[in-house]
Subunit: 196 residues, 2 copies
Amino acid sequence: MIETGARRREIDEVASELFHANGYAATSVRDIARALDIQGASLYAHVASKEDVLWSIVDWAAAEFEQAADRAIADTSTADAVERLAALVEAHVEVVTADPERSSVFVTEWRHLSEPRRAAVGDRRDAYEARFRTTIEDGVAVGAFRATDPAIAATFILTALNGIATWFRAGGRLTPDRIADHYVELALRSLSEDHR
Amino acid sequence: MIETGARRREIDEVASELFHANGYAATSVRDIARALDIQGASLYAHVASKEDVLWSIVDWAAAEFEQAADRAIADTSTADAVERLAALVEAHVEVVTADPERSSVFVTEWRHLSEPRRAAVGDRRDAYEARFRTTIEDGVAVGAFRATDPAIAATFILTALNGIATWFRAGGRLTPDRIADHYVELALRSLSEDHR
DNA sequence: CCTACCGATCGGTAGG
DNA sequence: CCTACCGATCGGTAGG
Protein backbone atom coordinates (compact mmCIF):
# COMPACT_ATOMS: atom_id res chain seq x y z
CA MET A 1 0.00 0.00 0.00
CA ILE A 2 1.56 3.24 -1.12
CA GLU A 3 1.04 6.18 1.17
CA THR A 4 -0.07 9.23 -0.76
CA GLY A 5 -0.85 11.73 2.00
CA ALA A 6 0.28 15.35 2.13
CA ARG A 7 3.32 14.55 4.28
CA ARG A 8 4.39 11.84 1.89
CA ARG A 9 4.26 14.26 -1.03
CA GLU A 10 6.19 16.79 1.04
CA ILE A 11 8.92 14.22 1.54
CA ASP A 12 9.26 13.69 -2.20
CA GLU A 13 9.39 17.42 -2.73
CA VAL A 14 12.20 18.21 -0.29
CA ALA A 15 14.03 15.01 -1.28
CA SER A 16 13.85 16.06 -4.95
CA GLU A 17 15.48 19.35 -4.09
CA LEU A 18 18.21 17.71 -2.03
CA PHE A 19 18.88 14.89 -4.51
CA HIS A 20 19.00 17.46 -7.28
CA ALA A 21 21.37 19.76 -5.42
CA ASN A 22 23.71 17.16 -3.89
CA GLY A 23 22.88 13.80 -5.42
CA TYR A 24 21.13 10.79 -3.92
CA ALA A 25 24.21 9.16 -2.40
CA ALA A 26 25.43 12.39 -0.79
CA THR A 27 22.02 13.11 0.77
CA SER A 28 21.36 11.42 4.10
CA VAL A 29 18.02 10.43 5.55
CA ARG A 30 18.74 12.96 8.27
CA ASP A 31 19.21 15.70 5.66
CA ILE A 32 15.71 15.03 4.36
CA ALA A 33 14.28 14.90 7.89
CA ARG A 34 16.00 18.17 8.84
CA ALA A 35 14.36 19.92 5.89
CA LEU A 36 11.01 18.74 7.28
CA ASP A 37 11.87 19.69 10.87
CA ILE A 38 11.53 16.17 12.16
CA GLN A 39 13.98 13.56 13.48
CA GLY A 40 15.77 11.27 11.07
CA ALA A 41 14.15 8.17 12.47
CA SER A 42 10.71 9.78 12.19
CA LEU A 43 10.96 9.63 8.44
CA TYR A 44 10.48 5.89 8.68
CA ALA A 45 6.93 6.47 9.88
CA HIS A 46 6.25 7.48 6.27
CA VAL A 47 8.69 5.53 4.12
CA ALA A 48 10.18 2.05 4.31
CA SER A 49 13.61 3.04 3.08
CA LYS A 50 15.68 5.83 1.55
CA GLU A 51 15.54 4.08 -1.79
CA ASP A 52 11.75 4.11 -1.69
CA VAL A 53 11.89 7.90 -1.68
CA LEU A 54 14.08 7.87 -4.77
CA TRP A 55 11.84 5.29 -6.40
CA SER A 56 8.73 7.34 -5.76
CA ILE A 57 10.34 10.42 -7.34
CA VAL A 58 11.71 8.54 -10.34
CA ASP A 59 8.54 6.53 -10.96
CA TRP A 60 6.38 9.62 -10.82
CA ALA A 61 8.66 11.58 -13.15
CA ALA A 62 8.84 8.69 -15.61
CA ALA A 63 5.04 8.53 -15.68
CA GLU A 64 4.81 12.27 -16.30
CA PHE A 65 7.13 12.05 -19.31
CA GLU A 66 5.35 8.98 -20.66
CA GLN A 67 1.89 10.50 -20.35
CA ALA A 68 2.96 13.79 -21.90
CA ALA A 69 4.55 11.98 -24.84
CA ASP A 70 1.52 9.75 -25.32
CA ARG A 71 -0.72 12.80 -25.33
CA ALA A 72 1.57 14.52 -27.85
CA ILE A 73 1.41 11.48 -30.11
CA ALA A 74 -2.36 11.16 -29.78
CA ASP A 75 -2.80 14.86 -30.52
CA THR A 76 -0.81 14.48 -33.74
CA SER A 77 -2.22 11.16 -34.94
CA THR A 78 -3.31 12.69 -38.24
CA ALA A 79 -0.35 15.07 -38.57
CA ASP A 80 3.02 14.47 -40.20
CA ALA A 81 6.25 13.45 -38.48
CA VAL A 82 7.48 17.03 -38.27
CA GLU A 83 4.48 18.13 -36.26
CA ARG A 84 4.67 15.03 -34.10
CA LEU A 85 8.32 15.58 -33.26
CA ALA A 86 7.54 19.21 -32.47
CA ALA A 87 4.79 18.07 -30.11
CA LEU A 88 7.12 15.54 -28.44
CA VAL A 89 9.82 18.15 -27.89
CA GLU A 90 7.34 20.68 -26.57
CA ALA A 91 5.81 18.14 -24.20
CA HIS A 92 9.23 17.19 -22.87
CA VAL A 93 10.17 20.80 -22.20
CA GLU A 94 6.88 21.34 -20.39
CA VAL A 95 7.40 18.37 -18.07
CA VAL A 96 11.01 19.33 -17.31
CA THR A 97 10.28 22.99 -16.59
CA ALA A 98 7.17 22.18 -14.53
CA ASP A 99 9.39 20.35 -12.02
CA PRO A 100 13.09 20.62 -12.87
CA GLU A 101 14.27 19.10 -9.58
CA ARG A 102 12.19 15.96 -9.95
CA SER A 103 13.13 15.73 -13.63
CA SER A 104 16.83 16.06 -12.99
CA VAL A 105 16.65 13.38 -10.29
CA PHE A 106 14.91 11.14 -12.80
CA VAL A 107 17.52 11.85 -15.44
CA THR A 108 20.66 11.58 -13.30
CA GLU A 109 19.95 9.54 -10.14
CA TRP A 110 17.93 6.53 -11.33
CA ARG A 111 21.09 4.44 -11.53
CA HIS A 112 21.15 4.37 -7.72
CA LEU A 113 18.02 2.25 -7.68
CA SER A 114 18.63 -1.42 -6.98
CA GLU A 115 17.45 -4.17 -9.28
CA PRO A 116 14.90 -4.88 -10.60
CA ARG A 117 13.78 -1.26 -10.41
CA ARG A 118 16.86 0.06 -12.11
CA ALA A 119 16.46 -2.25 -15.09
CA ALA A 120 12.77 -1.41 -15.31
CA VAL A 121 13.53 2.30 -15.46
CA GLY A 122 16.16 1.62 -18.11
CA ASP A 123 13.54 -0.17 -20.20
CA ARG A 124 11.10 2.69 -19.79
CA ARG A 125 13.73 5.20 -20.82
CA ASP A 126 14.48 3.11 -23.92
CA ALA A 127 10.78 2.97 -24.77
CA TYR A 128 10.50 6.71 -24.30
CA GLU A 129 13.46 7.35 -26.56
CA ALA A 130 11.90 4.98 -29.12
CA ARG A 131 8.95 7.36 -29.44
CA PHE A 132 11.36 10.02 -30.66
CA ARG A 133 13.35 7.63 -32.82
CA THR A 134 10.39 6.12 -34.64
CA THR A 135 8.94 9.56 -35.26
CA ILE A 136 12.24 10.54 -36.85
CA GLU A 137 12.29 7.29 -38.83
CA ASP A 138 8.80 8.03 -40.13
CA GLY A 139 9.86 11.51 -41.15
CA VAL A 140 12.94 10.25 -42.94
CA ALA A 141 10.87 7.60 -44.74
CA VAL A 142 8.51 10.19 -46.23
CA GLY A 143 11.25 12.73 -46.95
CA ALA A 144 10.13 15.21 -44.30
CA PHE A 145 13.52 14.85 -42.58
CA ARG A 146 16.84 14.42 -44.32
CA ALA A 147 18.36 10.94 -44.47
CA THR A 148 20.26 10.51 -41.24
CA ASP A 149 20.77 7.96 -38.48
CA PRO A 150 17.50 8.20 -36.49
CA ALA A 151 19.05 6.70 -33.36
CA ILE A 152 21.84 9.27 -33.26
CA ALA A 153 19.43 12.10 -34.00
CA ALA A 154 17.01 10.97 -31.28
CA THR A 155 19.83 10.74 -28.75
CA PHE A 156 21.17 14.14 -29.78
CA ILE A 157 17.79 15.78 -29.27
CA LEU A 158 16.88 13.92 -26.09
CA THR A 159 20.15 14.58 -24.29
CA ALA A 160 19.81 18.26 -25.14
CA LEU A 161 16.26 18.19 -23.77
CA ASN A 162 17.30 16.40 -20.58
CA GLY A 163 20.04 18.94 -20.09
CA ILE A 164 17.36 21.55 -19.44
CA ALA A 165 16.68 19.89 -16.08
CA THR A 166 20.22 20.63 -14.96
CA TRP A 167 20.27 24.34 -15.79
CA PHE A 168 16.66 25.57 -15.76
CA ARG A 169 15.54 27.64 -12.79
CA ALA A 170 12.05 29.08 -12.52
CA GLY A 171 12.07 32.87 -12.57
CA GLY A 172 15.23 33.07 -14.65
CA ARG A 173 15.75 34.85 -17.96
CA LEU A 174 14.09 32.08 -19.94
CA THR A 175 10.46 31.12 -19.58
CA PRO A 176 9.33 27.55 -20.29
CA ASP A 177 7.45 28.76 -23.38
CA ARG A 178 10.48 30.48 -24.80
CA ILE A 179 12.66 27.44 -24.18
CA ALA A 180 10.08 25.18 -25.80
CA ASP A 181 9.85 27.39 -28.89
CA HIS A 182 13.60 27.51 -29.32
CA TYR A 183 14.17 23.80 -28.67
CA VAL A 184 11.43 22.82 -31.15
CA GLU A 185 13.07 25.05 -33.74
CA LEU A 186 16.57 23.73 -33.03
CA ALA A 187 15.46 20.10 -33.06
CA LEU A 188 13.42 20.36 -36.28
CA ARG A 189 16.11 22.28 -38.14
CA SER A 190 18.77 19.81 -37.09
CA LEU A 191 16.83 17.26 -39.17
CA SER A 192 15.93 19.50 -42.09
CA GLU A 193 17.32 19.29 -45.61
CA ASP A 194 19.90 21.83 -46.55
CA HIS A 195 18.93 24.06 -49.48
CA ARG A 196 21.86 26.46 -49.46
CA MET B 1 53.98 18.95 -5.21
CA ILE B 2 51.65 16.88 -7.37
CA GLU B 3 52.59 13.25 -7.74
CA THR B 4 52.45 12.19 -11.37
CA GLY B 5 53.89 8.67 -11.25
CA ALA B 6 52.40 5.61 -12.91
CA ARG B 7 50.55 4.53 -9.76
CA ARG B 8 49.01 7.95 -9.42
CA ARG B 9 47.70 7.81 -12.98
CA GLU B 10 46.40 4.32 -12.31
CA ILE B 11 44.42 5.67 -9.36
CA ASP B 12 42.77 8.31 -11.55
CA GLU B 13 41.95 5.67 -14.14
CA VAL B 14 40.19 3.21 -11.84
CA ALA B 15 38.56 6.06 -9.92
CA SER B 16 37.20 7.49 -13.17
CA GLU B 17 35.59 4.16 -13.95
CA LEU B 18 34.08 3.83 -10.48
CA PHE B 19 32.91 7.46 -10.27
CA HIS B 20 31.42 7.11 -13.73
CA ALA B 21 29.64 3.86 -12.91
CA ASN B 22 28.41 4.65 -9.40
CA GLY B 23 29.05 8.33 -8.75
CA TYR B 24 31.63 10.01 -6.53
CA ALA B 25 29.60 9.94 -3.30
CA ALA B 26 28.67 6.28 -3.68
CA THR B 27 32.27 5.24 -4.30
CA SER B 28 34.37 4.66 -1.20
CA VAL B 29 38.10 5.00 -0.84
CA ARG B 30 38.14 1.27 -0.19
CA ASP B 31 36.35 0.63 -3.51
CA ILE B 32 39.16 2.41 -5.33
CA ALA B 33 41.81 0.58 -3.31
CA ARG B 34 40.19 -2.81 -3.97
CA ALA B 35 40.34 -2.18 -7.72
CA LEU B 36 44.08 -1.63 -7.30
CA ASP B 37 44.52 -4.67 -5.02
CA ILE B 38 45.78 -2.62 -2.12
CA GLN B 39 44.39 -1.72 1.31
CA GLY B 40 42.13 1.31 1.69
CA ALA B 41 44.56 3.13 3.94
CA SER B 42 47.39 2.48 1.47
CA LEU B 43 45.76 4.83 -1.00
CA TYR B 44 46.80 7.68 1.27
CA ALA B 45 50.43 6.98 0.43
CA HIS B 46 49.54 8.47 -2.99
CA VAL B 47 46.76 10.96 -2.39
CA ALA B 48 45.93 13.38 0.40
CA SER B 49 42.16 12.88 0.24
CA LYS B 50 39.35 11.33 -1.74
CA GLU B 51 38.44 14.76 -3.07
CA ASP B 52 41.97 15.17 -4.45
CA VAL B 53 41.32 12.18 -6.68
CA LEU B 54 38.15 13.78 -8.02
CA TRP B 55 39.95 17.08 -8.43
CA SER B 56 42.77 15.51 -10.41
CA ILE B 57 40.28 13.83 -12.75
CA VAL B 58 38.14 16.94 -13.20
CA ASP B 59 41.08 19.33 -13.61
CA TRP B 60 42.71 17.09 -16.21
CA ALA B 61 39.47 16.67 -18.16
CA ALA B 62 38.78 20.40 -18.08
CA ALA B 63 42.26 21.09 -19.45
CA GLU B 64 41.72 18.56 -22.25
CA PHE B 65 38.49 20.25 -23.33
CA GLU B 66 40.04 23.70 -23.10
CA GLN B 67 43.11 22.79 -25.10
CA ALA B 68 41.10 21.01 -27.78
CA ALA B 69 38.77 24.01 -28.14
CA ASP B 70 41.67 26.45 -28.28
CA ARG B 71 43.30 24.36 -30.99
CA ALA B 72 40.03 24.25 -32.92
CA ILE B 73 39.73 28.02 -32.72
CA ALA B 74 43.36 28.55 -33.70
CA ASP B 75 42.98 26.18 -36.66
CA THR B 76 39.99 28.16 -37.93
CA SER B 77 41.29 31.66 -37.26
CA THR B 78 40.84 32.62 -40.92
CA ALA B 79 37.68 30.58 -41.48
CA ASP B 80 34.05 31.56 -40.97
CA ALA B 81 31.88 30.88 -37.94
CA VAL B 82 30.34 27.78 -39.50
CA GLU B 83 33.70 26.11 -39.89
CA ARG B 84 34.76 27.21 -36.44
CA LEU B 85 31.66 25.77 -34.79
CA ALA B 86 32.18 22.56 -36.74
CA ALA B 87 35.75 22.39 -35.44
CA LEU B 88 34.59 23.03 -31.85
CA VAL B 89 31.96 20.30 -32.04
CA GLU B 90 34.40 17.85 -33.59
CA ALA B 91 37.03 18.61 -30.96
CA HIS B 92 34.54 18.10 -28.15
CA VAL B 93 33.44 14.74 -29.53
CA GLU B 94 37.06 13.66 -29.82
CA VAL B 95 37.85 14.51 -26.20
CA VAL B 96 34.72 12.81 -24.90
CA THR B 97 35.16 9.61 -26.89
CA ALA B 98 38.89 9.42 -26.12
CA ASP B 99 38.05 9.01 -22.43
CA PRO B 100 34.30 8.83 -21.78
CA GLU B 101 34.67 7.86 -18.12
CA ARG B 102 36.85 10.83 -17.25
CA SER B 103 34.65 13.11 -19.33
CA SER B 104 31.44 11.97 -17.69
CA VAL B 105 32.98 12.45 -14.25
CA PHE B 106 33.93 15.96 -15.30
CA VAL B 107 30.44 16.65 -16.60
CA THR B 108 28.42 15.14 -13.74
CA GLU B 109 30.54 14.92 -10.58
CA TRP B 110 32.33 18.26 -10.35
CA ARG B 111 29.64 19.61 -8.04
CA HIS B 112 31.03 17.35 -5.28
CA LEU B 113 34.19 19.43 -5.15
CA SER B 114 34.39 21.78 -2.20
CA GLU B 115 34.97 25.50 -2.59
CA PRO B 116 36.89 27.18 -4.05
CA ARG B 117 37.53 24.38 -6.52
CA ARG B 118 33.88 23.97 -7.37
CA ALA B 119 33.43 27.63 -8.21
CA ALA B 120 36.63 27.62 -10.26
CA VAL B 121 35.38 24.68 -12.33
CA GLY B 122 32.07 26.47 -12.79
CA ASP B 123 33.91 29.48 -14.14
CA ARG B 124 35.94 27.34 -16.51
CA ARG B 125 32.79 25.65 -17.76
CA ASP B 126 31.22 29.05 -18.37
CA ALA B 127 34.31 30.18 -20.27
CA TYR B 128 34.24 27.00 -22.32
CA GLU B 129 30.58 27.47 -23.19
CA ALA B 130 31.37 31.09 -24.13
CA ARG B 131 33.65 29.82 -26.90
CA PHE B 132 30.62 28.15 -28.47
CA ARG B 133 28.29 31.07 -27.78
CA THR B 134 30.53 33.76 -29.25
CA THR B 135 31.16 31.62 -32.32
CA ILE B 136 27.39 31.36 -32.79
CA GLU B 137 27.04 35.12 -32.18
CA ASP B 138 29.65 35.78 -34.86
CA GLY B 139 27.82 33.52 -37.28
CA VAL B 140 24.49 35.20 -36.60
CA ALA B 141 26.08 38.65 -37.03
CA VAL B 142 27.31 37.84 -40.54
CA GLY B 143 24.20 35.91 -41.54
CA ALA B 144 25.88 32.51 -41.63
CA PHE B 145 23.49 31.30 -38.93
CA ARG B 146 19.85 32.24 -38.63
CA ALA B 147 18.85 34.86 -36.07
CA THR B 148 18.38 32.98 -32.80
CA ASP B 149 19.31 33.21 -29.12
CA PRO B 150 23.02 32.29 -29.12
CA ALA B 151 22.98 31.36 -25.43
CA ILE B 152 20.12 28.90 -25.87
CA ALA B 153 21.67 27.47 -29.01
CA ALA B 154 25.06 27.02 -27.35
CA THR B 155 23.46 25.28 -24.36
CA PHE B 156 21.40 23.08 -26.65
CA ILE B 157 24.46 21.92 -28.56
CA LEU B 158 26.74 21.57 -25.55
CA THR B 159 24.33 19.53 -23.44
CA ALA B 160 23.84 17.21 -26.41
CA LEU B 161 27.61 16.92 -26.74
CA ASN B 162 28.11 16.24 -23.04
CA GLY B 163 25.43 13.58 -23.20
CA ILE B 164 27.78 11.50 -25.34
CA ALA B 165 29.90 10.86 -22.25
CA THR B 166 26.97 9.12 -20.57
CA TRP B 167 26.13 6.69 -23.39
CA PHE B 168 29.28 6.21 -25.46
CA ARG B 169 31.15 2.94 -25.08
CA ALA B 170 34.26 2.14 -27.09
CA GLY B 171 33.72 -0.82 -29.39
CA GLY B 172 30.02 -0.13 -29.79
CA ARG B 173 28.06 0.41 -32.99
CA LEU B 174 29.18 4.00 -33.31
CA THR B 175 32.78 5.03 -33.84
CA PRO B 176 34.01 8.41 -32.59
CA ASP B 177 34.41 9.59 -36.20
CA ARG B 178 30.86 8.69 -37.10
CA ILE B 179 29.52 10.41 -34.00
CA ALA B 180 31.57 13.51 -34.74
CA ASP B 181 30.32 13.67 -38.33
CA HIS B 182 26.70 13.33 -37.27
CA TYR B 183 26.93 15.77 -34.39
CA VAL B 184 28.63 18.39 -36.53
CA GLU B 185 25.86 18.00 -39.09
CA LEU B 186 23.08 18.15 -36.48
CA ALA B 187 24.59 21.16 -34.72
CA LEU B 188 25.21 23.16 -37.89
CA ARG B 189 21.79 22.43 -39.36
CA SER B 190 20.07 23.37 -36.10
CA LEU B 191 21.40 26.89 -36.75
CA SER B 192 20.81 27.03 -40.49
CA GLU B 193 18.24 29.13 -42.29
CA ASP B 194 15.17 27.34 -43.49
CA HIS B 195 14.62 27.47 -47.25
CA ARG B 196 11.61 25.19 -47.54
C1' DC C 1 6.47 11.48 15.39
C1' DC C 2 9.88 10.88 19.51
C1' DT C 3 14.05 8.88 22.23
C1' DA C 4 17.39 5.60 22.38
C1' DC C 5 20.03 2.66 20.12
C1' DC C 6 22.19 -0.84 16.60
C1' DG C 7 25.94 -2.75 13.48
C1' DA C 8 28.23 -1.29 9.42
C1' DT C 9 30.85 1.66 6.97
C1' DC C 10 32.84 6.03 6.08
C1' DG C 11 37.31 9.10 5.27
C1' DG C 12 41.40 9.42 7.33
C1' DT C 13 45.74 8.94 10.79
C1' DA C 14 49.73 6.70 13.39
C1' DG C 15 53.50 4.22 13.12
C1' DG C 16 55.96 1.29 10.97
C1' DC D 1 52.25 -0.24 1.08
C1' DC D 2 50.77 -2.69 5.62
C1' DT D 3 48.26 -3.33 10.31
C1' DA D 4 45.69 -1.29 13.66
C1' DC D 5 42.80 2.01 14.85
C1' DC D 6 39.95 6.61 15.30
C1' DG D 7 35.59 9.46 15.65
C1' DA D 8 31.76 10.47 12.80
C1' DT D 9 28.06 9.26 10.29
C1' DC D 10 25.32 6.09 7.80
C1' DG D 11 20.47 3.61 7.06
C1' DG D 12 17.47 1.55 9.86
C1' DT D 13 14.88 -0.72 14.22
C1' DA D 14 12.50 -1.07 18.90
C1' DG D 15 9.30 0.56 21.63
C1' DG D 16 6.64 3.83 22.84
